[in-house]
Symmetry: C2
Amino acid sequence: MTSEKKRKSNEFPGSFESKCINTIRFLAVDAVQKANSGHPGMPMEASDLAYVLWSKIMRYNPKNPQWLNRDRFVLSAGHGSMLLYALLYLTGYNLTLDEIKAFRQWNSKTPGHPEYGCTPGVETTTGPLGQGFATGVGMAMAERFLANRFNRPDFPLVDYFIFSLVSDGDIMEGISSEAASLAGHIGLGNLIYIYLDNRITIEGPTDFALSEDVGRRFDAYNWQVQHVNGYDLTGIEESIQQAKGEKSKPSLIIARTNIAYGSPNKQDSADAHGAPLGEEEVALTKRHLQWPETPAFFVPEDVLLHFRQAEKRGQERENEWLSLWEAYKKSYPELAHEWENMHKEPDPSQWENSLPLFKPEDGAVATRSASGKVLQAVAPHLPGLIGGSADLAPSNNTFLKNFGEFKNTGGRNIHFGIREHAMGAILNGMALSGALIPYGGTFLVFSDYMRPAIRLAAMMGLPVIYVFTHDSIGLGEDGPTHQPIEQLSSLRAVPNLMVIRPADAQETVEAWKIALSRRDGPTALILTRQKLPIIDRDRYAKASELRRGAYILADAPESKPELILIGTGSEVPLLLSAYEQLLDQGIQVRVVNVPCWELFEMQSHEYHEKVLPSYVNARLAVEAGCPYGWERYTGTQGKIIGIERFGASAPGEELFQQFGFTVEHVIKDAKELLSSV
Amino acid sequence: MTSEKKRKSNEFPGSFESKCINTIRFLAVDAVQKANSGHPGMPMEASDLAYVLWSKIMRYNPKNPQWLNRDRFVLSAGHGSMLLYALLYLTGYNLTLDEIKAFRQWNSKTPGHPEYGCTPGVETTTGPLGQGFATGVGMAMAERFLANRFNRPDFPLVDYFIFSLVSDGDIMEGISSEAASLAGHIGLGNLIYIYLDNRITIEGPTDFALSEDVGRRFDAYNWQVQHVNGYDLTGIEESIQQAKGEKSKPSLIIARTNIAYGSPNKQDSADAHGAPLGEEEVALTKRHLQWPETPAFFVPEDVLLHFRQAEKRGQERENEWLSLWEAYKKSYPELAHEWENMHKEPDPSQWENSLPLFKPEDGAVATRSASGKVLQAVAPHLPGLIGGSADLAPSNNTFLKNFGEFKNTGGRNIHFGIREHAMGAILNGMALSGALIPYGGTFLVFSDYMRPAIRLAAMMGLPVIYVFTHDSIGLGEDGPTHQPIEQLSSLRAVPNLMVIRPADAQETVEAWKIALSRRDGPTALILTRQKLPIIDRDRYAKASELRRGAYILADAPESKPELILIGTGSEVPLLLSAYEQLLDQGIQVRVVNVPCWELFEMQSHEYHEKVLPSYVNARLAVEAGCPYGWERYTGTQGKIIGIERFGASAPGEELFQQFGFTVEHVIKDAKELLSSV
């Protein structure tokens, strides 16, 4: 430590607390300046609020960021990431000052926006506005669920709070409105959000685009609303305590703040949003706030010692909780066992035997219906399985009978309301508890409404399950607005999202097995509205082959195949019919079922070559969706029967005829292909 | 007409108005029953409100659905489509009773949800909840803009209202919150929305998921809020007149209604949502409301005569307006000329000469910056060009200098706020005016937030322009949350959306030419944050070749090509460098630039074969995004340098290195490819 660094804060004027706060503030300023990139305005603005939260309110253990009963901090205004990194460093998380100096550089733990899994203490990835806000609601719902399930008199095993700093973007984005309405409806008393009311956005003053009465609006959502000066430490602390005391409502504390607080020329200016202050303004600001101009990244020793008390405090709090947990285990051994189980890697042997079995003789079944049966079958064995639908439960078959309503009762059925986007983020928040396996349903076409949340689930590697039903024009009369066309392609393009479109009820069981076992990312199940025949697995390959992503469902019986029919989901039975007819005509044809591209891509080159041998150029892919992307498997000489327009309103069977999804069309195109390649 | 059909309404009891209303109600009931598909509950619930609107309030001409100053009716609750079809038929639009009987059938004009362009009188496609609500805000903004621009004392050329029936879905969806906040901010007095407060959603009572105080919330948004009984005709009319009188605020009329009004067993039940009543319940309901049980689709003659007065009334109103227009032309010939121009097909000769020209010697230019220059250059010549950004104008370069702020002044710069989804729908609403060329900007990654609105623009074929900047990892430090990966693929998969990613500033000019000339669908411009060199068009092919979607930018000089490098946008300069080095090494290489897949797909087979001859298997595609889909042009033997994960936070140039977008990597992969195929 240099002599300069050893300087204590009493060597320069101002209260000790203001020095602590300025330490946060100028770590952010200096890091943004050094990176020559980032947002200094927000950390400068919110250092006082953050100081109160992290030194006086929140329960956390820097040495164990995984402590289950810690309070959660969500920086919904993720562009202010340096605020969070400064706090994590100062309070003693595993984040060094060197990492702060490497802000926004390759391979640092201090990326431009907070990233879950990258930096210890970062609870969720934020940056896309509104996501943190809504994810926090999911975290709070997880806490309420676990508290309802596990707390017993004198055993408050789960009683953490979710704190968040939210910005104008969160106030304006629709996803936050959805989440706020639901949070108020449920009455999430464990949710405490502080709104940085700085009246500045990137384009300029917020009154360019925002003049609503935010407090009144949140009051209408059934939130407790308070107003506070963002630089009045006592007022801030009191308002947070007041919020903690309100057990039946979420709280919004509207803090009047100034962006780039302390900067003589950039405070209250949009210029402080997405760019460093500049060397000169950094110096002026330090002078203005009576902070030493050098060195950069200055942390007075006593300030650090003060912040680092969080380690001892946190360890004590965790120890208290661990004592509680030990006593709990003795008093409630079964519940304790369940708790432990919910936090472990999933063990499929606990539920695999309960899965339904679908046989051809039982008749046709919609895959959405099969999915509902799987959910119902595994639910008793998976106490962390919790979810619902964005007001389409009867259509998505997502309701768990006998498992109660989430609201007030600790039940496992959530009514998300007509709020797909918030549902997506809430699922993320629930998954982040580490205890829950959250699922959410809507029509496949409305996956578009929740894409930003799906993307974050994929980026964070969260085990979230989407139940997307009504998966093609096969849904029929509702017409083009409800018929997915480009959704399958668009979801397959998302990195780390597993998209599974089973071809019958039995494959739906297999798809759920994959989804429930996956821990490192989300899975989208793509299910039909209409009934599909159960494939005869005595005649064709086993449904369990789904785990390879693609497999030879029916092969050329007499020689190498000369033609390959490729398909997914509801088009597979069609291909099997075509296959039988082509066989009768002496054509050596193979049917390859591709329920999951991502799983297939994980297989070896040898397996790929086995399933789709490169010597076969006559390949016909059939999928009732946009053909985009299928050339990967058909090659440029192959053909795709897909849909290159939007759908239409008519009965589903008629649409399949009109759009060419018929055995006759498949046979015709297959033969043309055979004669042309 | 059968004798039964000739029956007049005075043959059975009840007031004449209630018969008119029941005619609407039972047309819907019978049509849903005949289709055995659809939503009867909402039309049954809202027939009284619709009757008041369409017979006492709205100005429209059934014989000219295009009359420019008509009031607009938006059925945001699009699932109640039969309500609208019944009104259109009864008031005399070109929609027959036979079409009503063909509800939800192939090729009928009465699809499951209202479709713009399919049915005369349908102002916008609705169904995906919240879209109608937000699109209506765009329509109202268009009206305000045109009124500000063209109205003169005693010449109220533009003074129409936007009416909408909105449902619980609209109240809950985030897009509506965004749009409502902006509408209140602007003070859209021409917007009158009636909320069908029926307390029932698909899953059951709304209190499963909704308990906010809707009125208080909209009051906070600066809306006028009224409450009314949805079956009190006088009260309804008075509340709408009250709403029309409030010129400085949008209005929400909260109408307490009953879903499936009149059905003895299904009123106020979620069962009435997505399924026909059933023959028996239809009969019971008719009996309950004293309506003849047979025939189905019964329209009393006097009721029809009464509704059809709308034709005469509408023609008179249009005639009055046409007289006003004739006088206006004499008093304000220049404005009248501008008005006419704005409603015509665009004439590129009016603005093409003003376009900027970018040359290599002027130095590197970010395509977002070139885009801003184009916008500024054409704006004086295109008075209908209007738009803005979702709070990223300084980054998207979307601000039109010297064209004022939209709010209150009739300027052309809109601050949408941090509300991408509402922006998307508002652009649709503005485009539906037929007079405006709306554009909206945000970061490409946030196109995810507005996908449902983009989809509707594509479905409706609206000339909307998206300015999507920050188009790859090249944006740098903001990191993976802000770096698009799958967005390009996902947008290319949308039918009828044109996605253009220019390779330099000059191609950006060409891309804008395409976008401004396109009338039958939306265009997404994909632009860089970082500077790109201007391609030397003396050495390489002309930028105007962009209009073919893909073209040979640089060719093998000495023989047929043995290798083709394929790329878009910021990767093209990289390919040109690799090309020069490969040429030096004696390799006959071609560079194909593919700025727009959709345009390329429209070209002839011969052109495709010319650009990408089938005899060349060594094809390397390079794009700083997800490789999904590129096999269409590389074939299965080719290779793709793309990104199969999420991005990272670091300076953009470093990321290009780390992710393999370097000349060395391209050359290495190209050579490997050459030796392997």
